[in-house]
């Protein structure tokens, strides 16, 4: 008796759960594109910037007439920063929401997992941030990427090192993630090629708060450069603790991601000053609309924006351009339109080509920025610089000791 009621209750619960999700009203005159971003979890800050940029671009595109008269609709879904959730989300977008293509893709692990689903379902996927080489070097023909692969992130840093700093030794620290470990590997390969000795290459766990053990190891080794590939909290904590320990290499170099976010400066405070980082974009770059976008973002959201936002903003325009040119919204037609993409965006020229092992990969340049008195200044290549590189740096004076 008791148990039967219980089982009935179980059945009721089940039906209740599924009665919940009526398919959302379909607007016949809109084109749906799914965007996957980490809106919650430890990578939410990056997701937020990209989300806001996508929305800004979307409003502008629709105000300018949308996709040949139809409204562009973005279904922005939360991946929570986890690859398994990312995969389910993509599947949901394809089968339940019937989107015509997918965009977004933050963090290498999530993007790699999600890209596999897109390829299997032959769903065009325009990646704008996930950067592990593997995403475009797995031979997947439905996966396109706007940003350069992580192995190219440090190419501007490379020329800066050979031409200005000329270091002899370098220590590499990275988060144990797909992005971090692959970035560290390719950077240490670069160093080997340049004859720079890698005295330490160590990964640390995501979510850690105490980096002093590894930093004191670095202090003993006394390398010329400390290269760090980190997301947001770890980037700030690393610099704060380096300051506390008075660790003074010739330069602290960040491998993009956490080091270019405005939150890095807010969290690390004075410890962020004079830190340089690889980056993929700066508002000063001579791309049409780059400065406009930066100012619009700043006045709307009251904070500055880094390359993550520019990638998302540009990706939205690429998506709109592709959909406008596509013969129909069939996957093969959209793919054909993606193949023919050749346009200018705030992020620079976009064209998907196959080079080396990489397929459907946009070629984009990288740059070096430095935090100077609270502003992210472009310092390399020198002909584009907004301020000259501050080097050598007197760290103790910078930190106010």
């Amino acid at each position: 008796m008791k148990k039967s009621k219980m089982l009935l209750g179980f059945a009721c619960l089940l039906t209740l759960c599924f009665a919940f999700g009526p398919s959302q009203a379909m607007a016949a005159d809109s084109v749906k594109v799914g965007i996957v971003l980490p809106l919650t979890g430890s990578m939410a800050k990056f997701g937020e910037i990209e989300n806001q940029s996508f929305k800004m671009a979307l409003e502008e595109i629709n105000a300018a007439g949308g996709i040949n008269g139809k409204k562009l609709e973005l279904l922005i879904e939360d991946t929570t920063g986890r690859p398994d959730v990312g995969r389910s989300v993509v599947e949901k977008l394809i089968t339940k929401d019937k989107v015509v293509m997918i965009g977004g893709g933050y963090s290498s692990s999530v993007t790699y997992g999600a890209a596999g689903v897109c390829q299997q379902n032959q769903m065009p996927f325009l990646v704008n941030t996930g950067s592990a080489d593997k995403i475009t070097s797995s031979g997947w023909d439905y996966v396109y990427r706007l940003n350069p692969p992580v192995s190219k992130y440090a190419s501007a840093v490379e020329s800066l090192m050979t031409e200005v700093v000329k270091p002899k030794t370098v220590a590499i620290l990275h988060e144990n993630s797909l992005f971090g470990s692959k970035g560290a590997k390719s950077f240490s390969k670069t160093c080997g090629k340049l004859g720079i000795k890698v005295v330490l290459k160590e990964g640390y766990e995501h979510g850690g708060i105490d980096y002093k053990p590894v930093l004191s190891k670095i202090k003993q080794l006394n390398p010329d450069i400390v290269y760090m590939i980190s997301y947001i909290m770890d980037a700030s904590l690393l610099m704060k603790q380096a300051k506390e320990m008075k660790l003074t290499p010739k330069l602290f170099v960040g491998g993009a991601a956490g080091f270019t976010l405005p939150e890095f400066k807010t969290n690390a405070g004075v410890a962020s000053d004079k830190v340089i980082s690889a980056t993929l974009w700066h508002q000063i770059l001579p791309f049409p609309g780059a400065m406009d976008y930066y100012n619009k973002f700043k006045s709307r959201y009251h904070k500055s924006v880094d390359y993550h936002g520019a990638e998302a903003y540009a990706a939205c325009y690429v998506i709109a351009d592709v959909l406008k040119r596509a013969k129909s919204f069939k996957n093969t037609d959209i793919k054909a339109a993606l193949d023919e993409t050749d346009m200018m965006t705030v992020f620079g020229p976009v064209k998907f080509v196959t080079w080396g092992k990489l397929k459907n990969q946009n070629k984009a340049d990288t740059y070096v920025v430095q935090w100077i008195e609270g502003n992210l200044e472009l310092v390399w290549p020198a002909n584009l610089a907004t301020k000259p590189l501050v080097y050598p740096v007197d760290w103790l004076k910078t930190w106010g000791y």
Binding site: K3, G113, G116
Partner: protein, 321 residues
């Protein structure tokens, strides 16, 4: 007694017919995930609920099962379906080792040892790159594009798991397990070989969890150490599924899995897009509140305290704590 079987039959028929009525593979996916959690939750329940050995490290067995299938497929080119069979057995082998180490400890110390064990396996999977590809993870192309084979397979596995545990608990083993939970020393003094039966309980639990892990690899097609060896998303979730549904009840983990997976997805998607997106930020908070609520008012879980819920809901009588 009869009514119980009728209800079971209704639920069974409902689940069997579900894909024929609801074609959306999204809902089928949610149910498949639920079935996976039914298996993990039930296995955890056998060890923790019935035998009283609370494990904080069930991700070990889940991860080992998943990695067995994944490594066989990527390194040796053997279909991950064979790996699925093997996943359960490799998990058992690992469980023997885990049991050998952890069963020297009792109560909270056992729980802490399994917690540490889970982290150890996660770190091994992260750093042993030549075998596991580290944080790159393992990606295989799944066999079927349709959800149906996975749906029925996972449904079958979940049913088999529940039925097996039901049989075990009806048998002598079941009584031994419960006696160990109630008082290990008294059980020992009655001549029960407690360390043998604790290990048997662990092995059965590990087998099904490993099977679930290997199925997960086959179904999702992608794993990395953070996904399958996660303390938060596997080990703790297994405990929540057990506690919310009802510890030491046969159907408890099934109800718990349904509630937890349902809640998680509801919040992740901000009530299926009906609520503003900030709602999804609240999912961790709601999980916390739910656990507090269950522990305070329904200490035996939804199934274990069904009588209480029924009184409260159907007779409108306020129940006292």
């Amino acid at each position: 007694m009869k009514k119980q079987y009728i209800a079971l039959l209704i639920v069974g028929l409902f689940l069997l017919g579900f894909p024929a009525v609801v074609h959306s593979s999204y809902y089928q996916h949610l149910l498949i995930i639920t079935f996976i959690w039914v298996i993990i939750g039930s296995s955890w329940n056998l060890l923790a609920g019935y035998t009283g050995q609370v494990s904080f490290g069930h991700a070990i067995f889940f991860g080992i099962g998943a990695y067995t299938a994944g490594i066989l497929a990527t390194k040796l080119g053997i279909s991950a379906w064979w790996g699925m069979l093997l996943g359960g057995f490799v998990s058992m082998a690992i469980a023997l080792f885990v049991g050998w180490v952890c069963f020297r400890l009792r109560g909270p110390y056992f729980a802490l040892a399994t917690l540490a064990g889970g982290e150890i396996f996660r770190l091994i999977a992260t750093n042993w790159e030549s075998l596991t590809d580290g944080m790159v993870g393992i990606l295989i192309i799944t066999t079927f594009k349709s959800k149906l084979p996975y749906y029925y397979l996972s449904l079958g596995l979940a049913a088999a798991c529940i039925f097996a545990i039901h049989l075990i608990m009806k048998s002598k083993w079941g009584y031994y397990f419960v006696s160990i939970r109630e008082d290990q020393d008294a059980a020992e003094s009655l001549g029960i070989n407690t360390s043998l039966y604790k290990n048997i309980s662990l092995l059965v639990s590990a087998f099904f969890t490993g099977l679930a892990g290997a199925f997960y690899m086959n179904y999702m097609g992608f794993i990395d150490p953070e996904v399958v060896f996660s303390l938060h998303y596997i080990s703790i979730m297994a405990i929540l599924v057990g506690i919310v549904g009802g510890v030491a009840t046969i159907m408890g983990p099934a109800v718990g899995a349904l509630v937890m997976v349902g809640l998680q997805e509801t919040f992740r998607s901000s009530f299926f897009g009906l609520a503003p997106s900030w709602v999804s930020q609240g999912h961790a908070l709601v999980f916390g509140l739910l656990v507090i609520f269950v522990i305070m008012f329904l200490a035996n879980g939804i199934v274990g305290d069904w009588g209480k819920i029924k009184r409260y809901v159907f007779r409108r009588k306020v129940f006292r704590v």
